[in-house]
Subunit: 275 residues, 2 copies
């Protein structure tokens, strides 16, 4: 009799969390992934703590009620503003993107000075600064509200995007952070800009992508929590199975989402959260 | 015994509709204005017809239940996608921004060729093209998704915004529309970019701002529908009274909103639409 396959819920306000799902697929085999994109209410990055927490708790409940045994909050804003409230409101383990990102940044930095870029809400929460301070690092955070719309416009290698990124990074890498040696991508849209950001950032800077570090943290946690994953892998189990739910247009989710996931997306189901 | 003051509901997804309220205040005296900004669910411009219609109907019901005798849909996306559904779902007269904008554009154009810029959703609906075709005009519509975030970043005179506007308008004013002589601002954020857009558009182009033409249409309609407005004006009635409701942060509404309204905003009330 086969054991139940592990089921991992991945939540984001929209499409950006698909970069985290992509990283998860690279390190975890044989699991079911249920992705929930709250596209009818995106973006979260410009909204208040209460609104973001309410939306994130709704969405997490949806994933839990659909069988998720572990929740990945693949949205920096939701993690930064509402991880505690999501954890309190659900009955399964919850992993956000901030702690894993801070771990990686602290491991990589030599001079303990770090620049974090993210949405307005993430930066206001100072979640990264606190997580990095707890690891002995000094951080400065810079809100970059134009980068998400530029990615969604598809201008990932556009001269305008380079100019905008140059302005934002110029304002971040200054004063005592002029020689910061790590740049943390504190928003799941930004991995699509990684080559452009690397070309704009000072030459000595290492870019840390929270998606990758989160995927490794989830793999570790999953092996501890869901030991069935450690069973011998037969072919049936090795293949990841994906389900997608979105609160706005299914067609748009399929079309835009594949840019973030790096593969085609099919069978997205529409969810109405009764607003 | 004094007659009841007329009460006008103004609805937008967020802050942009405040440019319409500003225009209304210039042409209508002695009325109560109730402004509703659905800031917890903005932007509408990237979302689907069904989602926008559902949000807009919710918000319109809220305004009607708070005494609005006339509804102004001060959001191009909501007008373009959902004016029919809003009109069907409410019991008071409803005026959107598309028809008045089309009237002004048709009145101004000499060669009957018109460029309309707006959000992705507004442009996809072709509401302006249809309204202009009914007036004997030929129109091309261009989605400019970066202009709203650029306005919200406060970059209304920034070289980057000029470059982005130049790219969008360059793509719109070409082929048979190279000599179009009217540019319709089909999004309520764009009036803040009017000087910049005028400098980027071909020299012979006249800019039509739907906010102004909508305000004039509302004034006309109000005199017909709410004849108490035509009573002699004493000092008490001449002063407009404003009430503001927002679904996300009240503090942010006050702070950002004044850029659009051109005066300070006080006493905003938070509304939870029970999502």
């Amino acid at each position: 009799m086969s054991k139940r396959r592990p089921s991992i819920g991945v939540f984001d306000s929209g499409f950006g969390g698909l970069t985290v799902l992509k990283a998860l697929l690279e390190v975890i085999a044989g699991a079911d992934f249920i992705y929930f994109g709250d596209t009818a209410r995106l973006p979260y990055g410009s909204k208040s703590v209460d609104t973001v927490a309410r939306y994130a708790v709704d969405s997490s409940h949806y994933l839990e009620s659909h069988g998720a045994q572990l929740l990945v909050i693949a949205c920096n804003t939701a993690t930064a503003l509402a991880l505690d409230r999501i954890t309190a409101a659900t009955h399964v383990p919850v992993i956000g993107v901030v702690e894993p990102g801070a771990d990686s940044a602290a491991a990589v930095s030599k001079n303990k000075r770090i620049v974090v870029i993210g949405t307005e809400a993430t930066v206001s929460s100072q979640a990264y600064s606190k997580a990095l301070a707890a690891r002995g690092m000094q951080a400065t955070e810079k809100a970059c509200p134009l980068l998400v719309p530029l990615v969604e416009e598809g201008w990932v290698e556009h001269p305008v995007t380079k100019q905008v990124a140059g302005i934002y990074l110029g304002e971040a890498f200054q004063g005592e952070f002029e020689d910061a040696d790590v740049l943390v991508l504190g928003c799941t849209h930004y991995p699509l800009l990684k080559p452009l950001l690397q070309s704009v950032a000072p030459a000595h800077v290492t870019i840390v992508d929270s998606a990758e570090s989160t995927a490794r943290a989830v793999a570790r946690r999953m092996r501890a929590l869901l030991p069935q994953v450690d069973d011998g892998e037969d072919e049936r189990r090795a293949q990841a199975r994906l389900k997608f739910f979105a609160t706005d247009s299914v067609e748009k989710f399929q079309r835009l989402g594949q840019r973030f996931l790096g593969r085609s997306i099919e069978g997205v189901q529409h969810v109405d959260l009764k607003e």
